[in-house]
């Protein structure tokens, strides 16, 4: 059963004196149950609108399109599944004059969650010692942690986190990452993680969807998405790069220098390089396929160009 399923969902915002702005354009999105699913896209690509549509805060355009959350239609079936969905959307929303503990207790009371669970969640985000302080006195990171605690109160089957690392210090970011990883592996929780920290997504997520201009332009396991954006470049470390470059060009390869090594472009079979060079008495020190990191893939997929070239992050051949 998919945790999240959107089929041909569109959303346009009316603007006074201007044509409507299309935030979602026939969006198809599928998030299978279990694990951590990354949700990426440049600003204005429709990520937050998608989350708001899923949570019933924003209505999709009428006609066509289907939205299902934990196998229930949205918005009609939302009351039946909302008890299994935790969400932190953009900034945490709490009463500034109330303590962190009271803010959580009010939410827990509304949903019939026990007070013990409130204390568990405060402990989970390391806020127990500051739980009686007023929310308005919290640092940005503490506010974010309280938001995560609120999202976890219901012990959700689906946890939607929109930029959960905002305002956290490096240790906090690491701890949230560990928490998300652990939740994704517990066999109970599906985490939908929207983040601009692409390295974080790459480290934490099992699968990823990338949005651009309101459409899902890439989706699947992280490795597959990265592989689909691979250029076929191969990095060659060798003692005599100049001679090797001549040999490879003579054999029909496209070669360029790369910091004392060689970058061989559009290589279908890397073992051909080994064979050609060995035939000329040249022996490799290292040969590895260059795969783009998520940032490069993201920028390529969404139409932006990376500021730096793809990094050699592939596995050694």
């Amino acid at each position: 059963m998919p945790a999240v399923q959107l089929t041909a969902v569109s959303k346009s915002y009316r603007r006074r004196g201007r044509p409507p702005q299309k935030a979602l354009d026939d969006l198809d999105l599928l998030v299978e149950s279990g694990g951590v699913h990354g949700f990426l896209g440049p600003n204005g690509s429709g990520k937050t609108t998608t989350i708001r549509v899923l949570l019933g805060l924003v209505s999709a355009d009428a006609g066509g399109g289907e939205i299902r959350l934990l196998d229930q239609p949205v918005p009609s079936g939302l009351p039946d599944v909302i008890g299994s969905v935790g969400a932190l959307v953009e900034t945490p929303l709490f009463f500034p004059g109330f303590s962190g503990r009271l803010n959580l207790q009010l939410l827990a009371e509304a949903a019939g969650v026990s007070k013990a669970r409130v204390e568990e969640c405060l402990e989970l985000v390391d806020l127990t010692s500051r739980a009686d302080d007023r929310f308005k006195g919290y640092s940005l990171g503490m506010k974010q942690r309280l938001g995560i605690a609120a999202a976890l109160l219901k012990a959700p089957r689906l946890l939607i986190l929109d930029e959960p690392s905002n305002g956290l210090d490096p240790a906090g970011i690491r701890d949230v990452r560990e928490l998300i990883r652990r939740l994704g592996r517990d066999g109970h929780t599906t985490v939908l993680l929207s983040s601009h920290l692409l390295a974080e997504i790459q480290q934490v997520c099992d699968s990823v969807s990338i949005l651009a201009r309101g459409r899902c332009v890439a989706s699947g396991p992280v490795d597959e998405v990265l592989a689909s954006r691979g250029s076929g470049d191969v990095l060659v470390q060798i003692a005599d790069p100049a001679t090797a470059a001549g040999v490879l060009q003579g054999a029909g390869f496209s070669v360029s220098p790369a910091d004392g090594a060689l970058m061989v472009h559009s290589v279908a079979t890397p073992s051909d390089i080994t064979r050609v060079l060995a035939g000329s008495g040249l022996y490799l020190e290292e040969l590895r396929r260059v795969t783009p990191d998520l940032e490069s893939a993201f920028l390529a997929i969404t139409g932006d160009q990376p500021h730096d070239g793809p990094t050699a992050a592939g596995t050694p051949a």
Binding site: R52, L55, S59, V81, I82, G83, Q105, D126, D175
Partner: protein, 348 residues
Amino acid sequence: MSAVVEAPGARVAESPAHRASFGSLLRSEAHRFRSRRFIQVLLILAVVGWVVATVIGLLNYGTPDDGDLADAQARLDQIVAEQLMYRDQCLEDASIPDGTSPEEWCGPAPTADDFGGPEAFLDKAPFDFGEAGKDGALGVAALTAALAVAMGATWIGAEWSSRTIVALLFWVPRRLQVMGAKLAVLIGAAALFGVLAQAAWLATAGVWEAAVGGPDPLPEDFWSELLQTQGRGVLLVVLAAVLAFGLTNVVRNTGAALGIAFVYTAIVENIVRALRPHWEPWLLTSNALGLVQHGGYTITYWADGPIGPDGQPPEYYLGPLQSGVYLGAVAVVLASVGAVLFAKRDIH
């Protein structure tokens, strides 16, 4: 935040799905209401104000002894004598127009009753519950209604300023249920506030009556009329809270809503009374008076001048029922508009 890593995650998987019921939502909202600092400060100030008002009343009312009454009678007699002397001088005045008798020109001879009797000249008059009871209830209703406006506006305004109402929708997606729970808690709290305020007035009046009350017995039907006035006063408090809630929910900002309310009562209503007196039956404060005041509120159109055989200007009577229905309709419309907008609009 090391506890994040160390804390057990197994419990997360064990808990069942939670579903908010309207009852649990009401309990949560009631908890929030009584936890609000504004409400706590308001209650403390109300208690302090009640004590101060009671003490001031005790200091300003008093039970006169024979000496006080004799002094008051002497001052009254002196004033009546002075007025009679002035009238005698008037009667002897040669400038009285022809065709006008001296009695018509100078008026009737003044009596002690014209000056309120000797009680009006006492330094500390006794408290007369029979006379002040309904007026006091009206005053308490007006003050409490003003506070209820602030209560209703800040109750929903705080939700919009902190946007916590959006977070609550992650728990209870039925928006009308959310709004209904908030409104129900406000109505209950405003009614309780109104009842407590009127009870406080009875307590104050009881203290004054016991300590510095006069000898006059209570008029017939006093308690019936007083309790009816107080009941209508409580209704006004509830309606004021709902009106403020509805207005704030429409504009989604406490300051803007209170500003609109102030401009309306302080400026718009006075302009209407001055320029369009016949519109006064539609004004909210006139209807508030018509609702609570014993016997309703009669609007006199002085600008129309004397009309009819009795030479009196025309009047319009605002009875409690008419005023109550009108104020109720306005409150329902405002609250409904806010609720429907909340239910239908996208929330960002």
